[in-house]
């Protein structure tokens, strides 16, 4: 059996890319760096208590009191570990990576849902991206983009993009075919059907995909730290290299807190639980005697449909406060 020198070919290709398309990668890197830095400034510039307050309020709005208490205690703990800046850097890194992954993954998912061929050819690619050890592509990525936040982001995107594609495809394919047929029967353009029927009805599935993207992105934080990205990853990496159990535990716990927060937050955006402050506000508006026809559609999210019960809960909440 002759030796097939695949590794050498890929290596040669990467080196060729580096020599001939270096400027392109530098450009991409510069854009990503700029975006990450801008986002990081937003997260790190204000005093920690301001962001803490904001996160608690957000938690209250989308999910309810319990989640708000978790956010308060969790992020207070992170602050007391002296890991606030790193946590906010990780926040920025994960959000940018997840945003790019979703921006690429959702359209790919739509494409896969509309074309069997696309679906068939995407599947092995996604399998590869999800399972190939991150360190393997970290080396060429670092070569192409240099040490820093960019290879961290790119590696995170590669690893975390699959659920965005898969769950978008699944969601769109799962839309009741009779409803799509009805849209056709009323003369809707395929674009209108996508925008007004398929995407809204697939939204829970797509949001579940985005949620998974974020969770996978968080699991890449340490790898990103290895590649030179700032944040909690760096803390964990240095703890590992110095065998510092205490620092490792604290850094790891901070990652978990961020992960739980982002998971509950994004899944609440998809599910819209009744306990959320937003739902209660909507319910109150829906039951108000002045509710006009323009307000009514806004109140039509599933959450607002039990005005009596929701108002009762709101009343109890007000009484307790």
């Amino acid at each position: 059996m002759p030796r097939f020198e695949l590794g050498s070919y890929v290596e040669a290709f990467i080196l060729w890319l580096l020599q001939n398309a270096g400027a392109l990668f530098d450009g991409i890197g510069a854009v990503i760096t700029a975006v990450v830095e801008a986002v990081t400034v937003v997260f790190t510039a204000p005093p920690w208590w301001l962001w803490l307050a904001l996160l608690v309020v957000l938690a209250l709005l989308v999910r309810g009191v319990g989640f708000a208490v978790f956010a308060l205690l969790g992020f207070a703990l992170v602050s007391s570990f002296d890991l606030w800046t790193e946590t906010m850097e990780t926040f920025g890194l994960v959000l940018v990576a997840a945003l790019i992954a979703a921006a690429i993954g959702v359209p790919l998912g739509i494409w896969a849902a509309r074309s069997r061929a696309a679906s068939r050819s995407l599947r092995p690619v996604l399998d590869t991206m999800q399972t190939i050890p991150a360190f393997v592509y970290l080396i060429p990525v670092v070569l192409l983009f240099g040490i820093g936040v960019v290879p961290g982001i790119v590696a995170t995107i590669v690893f975390s993009i699959a659920p965005a594609v898969r769950l978008t495809e699944l969601g769109i394919r799962g839309v009741d075919s009779e409803v799509v047929e009805a849209a056709h029967a009323f003369g809707a353009h395929p674009r209108q059907i996508l925008r007004e029927v398929q995407l809204p009805m697939a939204l829970p599935s797509i949001m579940a995909g985005v949620n998974q993207v974020i969770m996978l992105a968080l699991s890449m934080v340490v790898v990103a730290g290895l590649a030179g990205a700032d944040g909690l990853g760096t803390i964990v990496v240095s703890a590992v290299t110095q065998l510092d159990i205490a620092a490792g535990i604290e850094g790891g716990l901070a990652v978990v807190i961020v992960a739980i927060f982002l998971d509950r937050f994004t899944s609440a955006l998809a599910d819209r639980p009744d306990s959320s402050l937003l739902a209660k506000l909507r319910a109150r508006r829906a039951t108000a005697p002045t509710a006009s026809t323009t307000a009514a559609p806004a109140a039509s999210s599933g959450a607002a449909n039990r005005p009596a019960g929701a108002a009762g809960v709101a009343g109890v909440g007000a009484g307790a406060g």
Binding site: V179, E181, A182, H184, A185, G187, H189, M201, G302, N305
Partner: protein, 430 residues
């Protein structure tokens, strides 16, 4: 027992058909196997054998029919008969393998994508078995869907949607979500969506099959009422022959993708095209399908006021009757004259009938009343039930004619005869 209101009369006449279908065939399968299947089907090979030999499914084969404007046309068949495919061929949700469909004179097959979308949006709307509403939109937003696609401005579209919802009895649920409504109410929204589009043609794919029997009955009444007011061209798909007979101006029977018979309900009842149809119609509740017109008789005797009572008595005797309708020159019923009163008048030597001698011992009905409504009216008076159309006496329905119609069998020797006889006895003895 409740019955439906009268049907709207069939719109026949000189108008060209709203929908004309010619030699329509649909085969599901890849190119070569489909061609082979079409060839086999033309030789009269059955659907199952075609499936085994080519792998292609013959869904609809060589079907032709016309639908008149304003007609409620029912396509009836059991599951797998190709009826759902056929209705989807009518708006090209499914592309035909061969054959043509003209809608109001336009050949559907010649339309490009854009023109086809315009035609679907402006000329044909559709109601679906499982409602097919957008769950994230309110009832009103669902109802205005067709208009939204048409680009109608928001205020007008809302107005039209509210009108349509009013028509189907959901005026107060405009801002509810479909998920909050029962199945019957959701289908009302489906109907409102079709009505709001204000298209000439309404395709209804088994719209009531997923509903409870009582709700279904309400929805059938609603459709009959709406159709009387709006006069759409409706293609209604069902697997329920009673529903077909109840609603359809004409019925197309489909079996294994092939047309078996087209005709009005009474026509199909009276002369089924083959054993399959005969067996089928043996289960039909004739008392709801046949109307007074189907059993109408020329009155044996009618009388005018200026006749000599003694002459009338003679005629009554010949007709073996004990009373007769007295009509004016316009054939309007003035009342009934009984033989005993005639006897008195004849004894006094009167030369004409005195109006005060007339009695009100008679009942009337309209020509399109189903027999079930007549059962308790016939045989109660000395004169048979009068059929009155536009105030005029057009004929009578003797009790015997009703009972005969309910127990008549198109083919007395048919194996299903015993079964259906018992059905008819039951109806006859109500």
């Amino acid at each position: 027992m409740s019955t439906l209101d009268e049907k709207a009369p069939v719109a026949t006449g000189t108008a060209s058909p709203m929908i004309r279908v010619e030699d329509l065939t649909k085969v599901f399968g890849s190119g070569s196997s489909a061609d082979e299947a079409v060839a086999l089907a033309a030789d009269g090979v059955g659907r199952r054998e075609i499936q085994e030999r080519t792998g292609a499914t013959l869904a609809v084969h060589d079907v032709s029919f016309d639908i008149a404007p304003g007609e409620l046309f029912v396509i009836m068949g059991l599951s797998g008969s190709g009826k759902s495919t056929l209705v989807r061929l009518l708006n090209r949700l499914i592309e035909p393998t061969s054959g043509t469909i003209d809608v109001d004179g336009r050949d559907l097959g010649s339309l490009g994508d854009g023109d086809l979308r315009t035609l679907r949006n402006e000329r044909m709307s559709m109601v679906f078995q499982h409602f097919a509403l957008l769950p994230h939109r309110t009832v009103a937003q669902n109802a205005e869907y067709g208009l939204q696609i048409r680009g109608v401005d928001a205020a007008e579209r809302r107005r039209t949607a509210e009108w349509a919802l009013e028509q189907v009895g959901l005026g107060d649920r405009a801002d509810a979500l479909p998920g909050q409504l029962s199945g019957g109410m959701q289908q009302r929204v489906g109907l409102a969506r079709a009505l709001a589009s204000d298209t000439d043609v309404l395709l209804m794919d088994e719209p009531y099959s997923a509903l409870d029997p009582l709700i279904r009955r309400d929805m059938q009444k609603l459709l009959v009422r709406l159709q009387r007011e709006l006069r759409k061209t409706i293609v209604f798909i069902t697997h329920d022959l009673n529903e077909a007979m109840l609603l359809g101006d004409r019925i197309l029977l489909l079996k294994d993708g092939r047309l078996v018979q087209v005709g009005t309900g009474p026509e199909i009842l009276a002369s089924p095209a083959d054993d399959y149809v005969a067996e089928f119609v043996s289960d039909v509740d004739r008392s709801r399908v046949l109307t007074a017109t189907d059993v109408i008789h020329e009155p044996r005797i009618t009388v005018t006021l200026d006749e000599r009572p003694s002459d009338v008595l003679v005629r009554l005797g010949k007709a073996e009757a004990t009373g007769a309708y007295v009509v004016d020159s316009e054939h309007r019923i003035l009342g009934v004259i009984r033989d005993d009163r005639l006897g008195h008048a004849a004894a006094t030597g009167a030369t004409s009938i005195d109006r005060s001698a007339l009695v009100e011992e008679y009942r009337t009905t309209e020509p399109d009343r189903p027999l079930i409504d007549l059962l308790h009216q016939v045989g109660r008076n000395p004169v048979p039930l009068a059929v009155v159309d536009g105030g005029r006496l057009t004929g009578v329905v003797p009790r015997g004619a009703v009972l005969a119609a309910l127990s008549t069998h198109p083919e007395a020797t048919h194996p299903a005869a015993t079964h259906s006889d018992s059905t008819h006895d039951r109806n006859g003895n109500v």
